[in-house]
């Protein structure tokens, strides 16, 4: 065998190994999601006895949905509404404040600018969960716990967004453009509204995406702040269904509720689907965005 063919053989083997590893891990990522999608179409018995990746029926899916809706007087609808209210509320405040602050930090002379940037950097790295217990104490003294505001306001503090906006405006907003606007007699606020804001559309999309995903999935903050079941968001509600019904563990006590594993899976699906859909549609622009947040270029 010549050296050349031996080398080519080695290449083929390496390529095959690479393909197998990637495909294998891809399957490992995909199978749980497919299972989750299929689980609510089956009865609990089918879920245990049938093939894990088989399809039940749409009628069963409808029944599971009905069971879930019946749980605690349709509290599910309340959770969905809460999730939307909390996520969108925080999104609006966080994106608005981030844009304004990032813009001002990038183009204006403001007192304590450097200190603000350093604090923002630190705050951006510290996971929001680290502050949840002290936040509870703080909001408790002003009697705001167990309200929508106790979830929306703390989640509106969004240093990552400020930093991203700061980078965006300092790198992609030409100074000459601002100068030209000033010469035309435009006010500083007008410059932001008529020049910077339209230029920042991709940035706004990106900030909205990250803020929405983080708030939609938020667990620890609402878990700590909210004490009434009707105020929960979907993830906390799902947690309550999972650990409060015998669906996953009969040791949780007998129950006449028709909340079994397919219903729990359906509740999980409700949390996941909006994010998954956004993920798939935004992947391309996300990659660029995540990088813009971490790389200088």
């Amino acid at each position: 065998m010549s050296v050349n063919t031996r080398q080519r053989d080695r290449w083929t083997v390496l390529r095959a190994v690479r393909g197998t590893v990637l495909l294998g891990f891809g399957a490992f990522c995909l199978i749980p999601l497919v299972w989750l999608l299929l689980a609510p179409t089956k009865t609990d018995a089918q879920l245990v006895n049938g093939h894990p990746l088989s399809f039940g029926s749409l009628a069963q899916f409808g029944r599971a949905w009905q069971h879930l809706v019946d749980y605690n007087d349709s509290v599910l609808y309340q959770w969905i509404a809460n999730s939307i209210l909390y996520s969108v509320g925080s999104l609006l405040i966080s994106v608005a404040t981030s844009l304004l602050a990032g813009y001002a930090l990038a183009v204006s002379r403001i007192p304590g600018r450097k200190a603000l940037l350093v604090l923002t950097l630190i705050a951006m790295m510290v996971p929001p969960t680290a502050l949840v217990l002290p936040l509870f104490l703080e909001l408790n003294t002003v009697h705001l716990t167990n309200t929508a505001l106790s979830v929306i306001l703390p989640a509106s503090f969004y240093p990552f967004g400020v930093y991203l906006a700061f980078i965006y405006f300092s790198t992609s907003l030409p100074k000459e453009l601002l100068e030209a606007g000033r010469l035309d007699g435009c006010s500083e606020a007008g410059l932001f509204w008529h020049l910077a804001r339209p230029l920042a559309k991709p940035l706004i999309g990106l900030l909205s995406f990250f803020s929405f995903v983080a708030n939609w999935n938020n667990y620890f903050l609402p878990y700590v702040m909210l004490s009434e079941e009707s105020k929960y968001n979907l993830p906390v509600g799902l947690g309550a269904v999972v650990s409060g019904t015998p669906a996953l563990n009969p040791a949780n006590g007998g129950s006449f509720l028709p909340i079994t594993r397919p219903e729990v899976a359906l509740a999980g699906l409700l949390v996941v689907v909006p994010i998954a859909v956004i993920f798939v549609f935004c992947q391309r622009f996300l990659v660029r965005g995540i990088l813009a947040g971490s790389v200088k270029n």
Binding site: G19, V21, L22, L23, F25, F28, C29, L30, P32, L36, L47, S98, L100, A101, A104, A106, S108, I110, P111, L116, L117, L119, L121, A123, M125, P127, T129, A130, L131, L133, P134, L135, L137, E138, L153, S156, I167, T171, E188, A189, F192, N217, Y219, P235, L238, G239, V242, S243, L248, N249, A251, R261, G268, A276, V280, Q283, V287, I290, L291, S294
Partner: protein, 292 residues
């Protein structure tokens, strides 16, 4: 000449500054204060008694060791896993590579309580599509799997699967920033795919690896929902104070001892701020500062 500040700019930054003080610095300062106030005696004494109490509590050191072991397993697996997959994907850009990146990204959509639910089912042999693999490892039932000794591994597995895709995408992006000239030169020198990956590409993205390790470290310290829900489901695996954050929660809401809970919050806050500072001071990631 005295520098004048822009009024509009100051107004613009104000709402954020309010949020920063009320929901960032405020609670941090409050937890420092609270940690020195003794609630337990009812006298409100100021001192170190909360620190003594927490350090002496039978739940504290186990929680520290659980989180430490969890990080000890998860971080290396995460670093190696992300690098292997990113390098394999980058070895040859193709439609296949793009599709795989999207696939690896998808489990990241299932986080928090939904991911615990999903992975509980994936590890329960009576439900799981992975049952043959679990049984091959000698794990026949959920009770055998959800044991205290397995919890750190299980949480590391969940955190790895939900987090790996996002970091693969970031590393892949970093790899694409390596200039084509460097890679061409390596190829001319006769470096194979493996040598190029390990000796050329890897050193070029080491900064991103540090970035990832520190962010993951700070996040991993905060472990809460995983142990909380697995204990809620099983009642045997773990405890309501298995992780540090759980312990802090239990102190605050079961014992009503907010002073001691503040000690735990402060500990986590100091550790994650420390990690943040290392990142900011030791790398030039954040030198985007535009001087004017």
């Amino acid at each position: 000449m005295r520098r004048r500040f822009d009024r509009t700019g100051t107004l613009f930054v104000l709402p954020y500054v309010v949020l920063l003080f009320v929901f960032g610095l405020g609670p941090a300062a409050y937890s420092i204060y609270q940690s020195f106030v003794d609630d337990r005696t009812g006298t409100g004494d100021v001192g170190l008694s909360n620190y003594q109490f927490v350090l002496g509590d039978f739940r504290f050191w186990p929680a520290v060791s659980h989180v430490a072991i969890y990080l000890g397993i998860w971080l290396p697996v995460m670093v190696v896993g992300v690098l292997v997959f990113a390098l394999l994907l980058h070895e040859r850009a193709s439609r296949f590579s793009g599709a795989m990146r999207l696939l690896f990204f998808l489990p990241g959509a299932v986080t928090g309580s939904a991911s615990i639910l999903l992975w509980y089912c994936m590890l329960e042999p009576s439900l799981s599509p992975f049952a043959p693999a679990l049984k091959a490892m000698g794990l026949e039932s959920g009770n055998e799997i959800f044991q205290n000794t397995h919890l750190t591994v299980i949480f590391a597995l969940i955190a790895f699967t939900t987090g790996v895709g996002q970091w693969i995408v970031i590393m892949y992006g970093a790899l694409q920033n390596i200039s084509a000239d460097v890679l061409e030169a390596a190829a001319l020198d006769g470096a194979g795919a493996i040598r190029t990956a390990l000796q050329i590409k890897l050193p070029q993205i080491s900064k991103y690896v540090l970035y990832m390790v520190i962010l993951c470290l700070a996040n991993g310290l905060q472990l809460f929902v995983e142990p909380q829900l697995i204990y809620g489901i099983t009642h045997t695996a773990g405890s309501p104070w298995w992780s540090l954050n759980q312990f802090g929660y239990a102190l605050a809401f079961q014992n009503g001892d907010f002073g001691s809970a503040a000690v735990i919050s402060l500990l986590l806050l100091v550790l994650s701020t420390g990690a943040a500072l290392v990142l900011i001071l030791r790398t030039d990631f954040f030198q985007t500062e535009v001087d004017r």
